[in-house]
């Protein structure tokens, strides 16, 4: 199922590693960059390029928070739900986001625009509450400021 381009990029990575296995996270990210998520069918093919079984690849793929094993929308919102953000209004932010988007955590809007996920501390506790949209940091959030942030993403 992998495209020629995905294969080329993954094969190209191997030159940077003495052991091809060490490239597995990077290879999964290549797949994710090309199709937003990592489908099951990609695992044996990534494994074949790295000399690993599909199971070995899956053991890594399922371990990480930011390797998506289900389809996600065009933009991924990661809302910090750890303690410093929780103390400064995480719950209001989460409620406002869910209402604004009409979805819950782990879901994608019907127009495929946003996927909403919780994430642990973003190292931005000085700007709590905080979230990432496509890895862009938004801090000192209030429910009122959410619209401006969401408006940047079509």
């Amino acid at each position: 199922m992998l495209t020629a381009e995905e294969r080329d990029v993954i094969t190209g990575l191997l030159g940077h590693y003495t052991d091809p296995r060490a490239a597995v996270v990077e290879a999964l990210k290549v797949v994710q960059e090309h199709r937003r998520w990592v489908p099951d069918e990609a695992l044996p093919e990534v494994g074949a390029l790295l000399g690993l079984s599909a199971h070995d690849v899956d053991a890594v793929a399922t371990f990480y928070n930011l390797i998506f094993r289900q389809p996600v929308g065009r933009h991924v919102i990661l809302v910090c739900d750890s303690v410093s953000c929780w103390m400064l209004g995480y719950e209001d932010i989460a409620t406002a986001l869910k209402r604004r988007l009409g979805i819950g955590f782990g879901e994608t809007t019907p127009d495929d625009r946003f996927t909403l996920l919780p994430i642990c501390c973003l190292g931005a506790c000085d700007k709590a509450p905080a979230m990432l949209i496509d890895f862009e940091l938004y801090g000192d959030l209030t429910p009122e400021r959410l619209d401006a942030a969401l408006g940047h993403y079509a």
Binding site: H16, T18, D19, R21, A22, A23, V24, V25, E26, L28, K29, L50, L52, A59, V60, F63, Y64, N65, L66, I67, L78, D81, S82, V83, S84, W86, M87, L88, I119, C120, C121, L122, G123, A124, C125, D126, A128, L132, F135
Partner: protein, 423 residues
């Protein structure tokens, strides 16, 4: 504080882009690298690091010089040896390594190269969490500039020393910050912790001698080798030498981070630097070093922020990131949030952690809703023992249980109030 008293952050101007190589060198950067690579004996430099009293800033406070001293040296030592930089920073409440990496990436590069020389490493791996995209981009640019200048790669500055620096971006998981899990992650394996011993210094990445150090720990190194152990020790106010990045979160007026002497009293951090509590909020307690440290309360505020005094008070200095609980935030809600984090981030390898933490979280939810039972209170106590130091494979569970254990000690009334009221 004067610039020379804050070696870690003196180049950092928040809100402005960090110094490029030219700017960094103008500010005195890469002087340590030029002074030591190929010129100073690694053993002699190691002694300076040992004498400085530097202790690891990743949370455990292990003496850095002693850690490096376990790396095999000399002609019979393995050719492949690794220095691994731990930039996985995911301890809730902590934002110091991000501040350093985004604020002065060249200092990371210089620190890594100088540290690598001292242990005669063949490669450096910088392990950065995926969410730190800006830090990653800045590091990549700094590494390219350093390579161009001949500070890394083959034959550094004509010394014959060869060093490669690799940047590894992770994909998000707190446990990757545990040093042996991190090594598994770098090898492309599922990032569960490894049994110790063997310690990484004898058998680490691909079975080779390896040292894992925190970002902030390493930022100290160029200054220590240039200015000496005595100067460094003199920066601290108490037993521990040097400065440290401290920060605060919760309902305090200012968050930091601030670079301050080790041994700065907790009260000074809270009142002078954080500016005290928001108006209308009172102080109840704080976790002094991130989510995995125990509560300290009023009676502890005059303690110096050094490793031993905080440990002796039943907590840990951890990352020096204060998480402050005010009198209007629910303690039970906070504990539940903390244990939710630890339960979710457990790697699942051992039972007290994998099964115990979700259980604890459920009980805390009941207490938060005023539906706890006396029996559940006993069960919480039981888990504090099951997850204690030495009962689990790694330090995740002992850290996870520390806030609960200390809350049971200092805030007993909250638990009593969380019990179901008999009609």
């Amino acid at each position: 504080m004067r610039d020379e008293d804050r070696p870690l952050t003196r180049n950092i101007r928040p809100g402005e882009p960090p110094l490029d190589r030219a700017g960094y060198e103008e500010a005195g950067g890469y002087r340590a690298l030029k002074a030591v690579i190929g010129r100073r004996d690694p053993g002699e430099l190691l002694d300076i690091v040992k004498d400085s009293g530097l202790r690891g800033r990743g949370g455990a406070g292990f003496p850095t010089g002693m850690k490096w001293g376990f790396i095999p040296m000399g002609p019979d030592a393995p050719k492949q040896k690794y220095l691994i930089v731990n930039a996985d920073e995911m301890e809730p409440g902590t934002f110091k390594d991000r501040f350093l990496l985004e604020g002065d990436p060249h200092q990371m590069v210089e620190a890594a190269i100088v540290a690598a020389w001292i242990i005669q490493a063949s490669d450096v791996y910088i392990f950065v969490r995926d969410a730190y995209r800006r830090a990653t981009d800045l590091l990549r640019a700094a590494l390219a500039e350093a390579r161009e200048a001949g500070y890394l790669g083959r034959n550094i500055l004509g010394s014959g020393y060869e060093l490669e620096v690799h940047l590894h971006t992770s994909a998000g998981r707190y446990i990757c910050g545990e040093e042996t899990a991190l090594i598994n992650a770098l090898e492309g394996k599922r990032a569960v912790p490894r049994q110790k011993p063997p310690f990484p210094q004898s058998s680490g990445l691909w079975g080779r001698p390896s040292v894992v150090n925190n970002v902030e720990t390493l930022y100290n190194i160029p200054h220590i080798v240039l200015r000496g152990a005595e100067w460094y020790r003199g920066l601290g106010k108490g037993a521990d030498g040097g400065t440290k990045l401290f920060g605060a979160s919760g309902r305090v007026k200012r968050k930091g981070p601030w670079e301050l002497p080790m041994g700065t009293p907790l009260r000074e951090l809270l009142e002078a630097h954080a500016g005290g509590m928001h108006d209308g909020h009172g102080f109840r307690g704080l976790l002094p070093g991130g989510a995995s440290t125990g509560f300290l309360v009023d009676e502890h505020l005059d303690l110096p922020m050094d490793f031993d005094p905080i440990q002796n008070a039943g907590s840990r200095l951890g990352t020096g990131a204060l998480i402050v609980l005010d009198d209007r935030t629910s303690l039970m809600g906070m504990l539940r949030n903390l244990e939710h984090f630890f339960a979710r981030e457990s790697c699942g390898w051992c039972t007290p952690c994998r099964d115990g933490l979700p259980w604890v979280e459920r009980i805390l939810a009941a207490f938060a809703a005023g539906r706890g039972t006396a029996e559940e209170l006993d069960i919480l106590e039981m888990h504090t023992r099951f997850c204690g130091m030495g009962k689990t494979f790694c330090a995740h569970a002992p850290g996870a249980i520390m806030p609960l254990e200390t809350a049971l000690k200092y805030f007993r009334d909250d638990f009593e109030r969380g019990l179901t009221r008999a009609a």
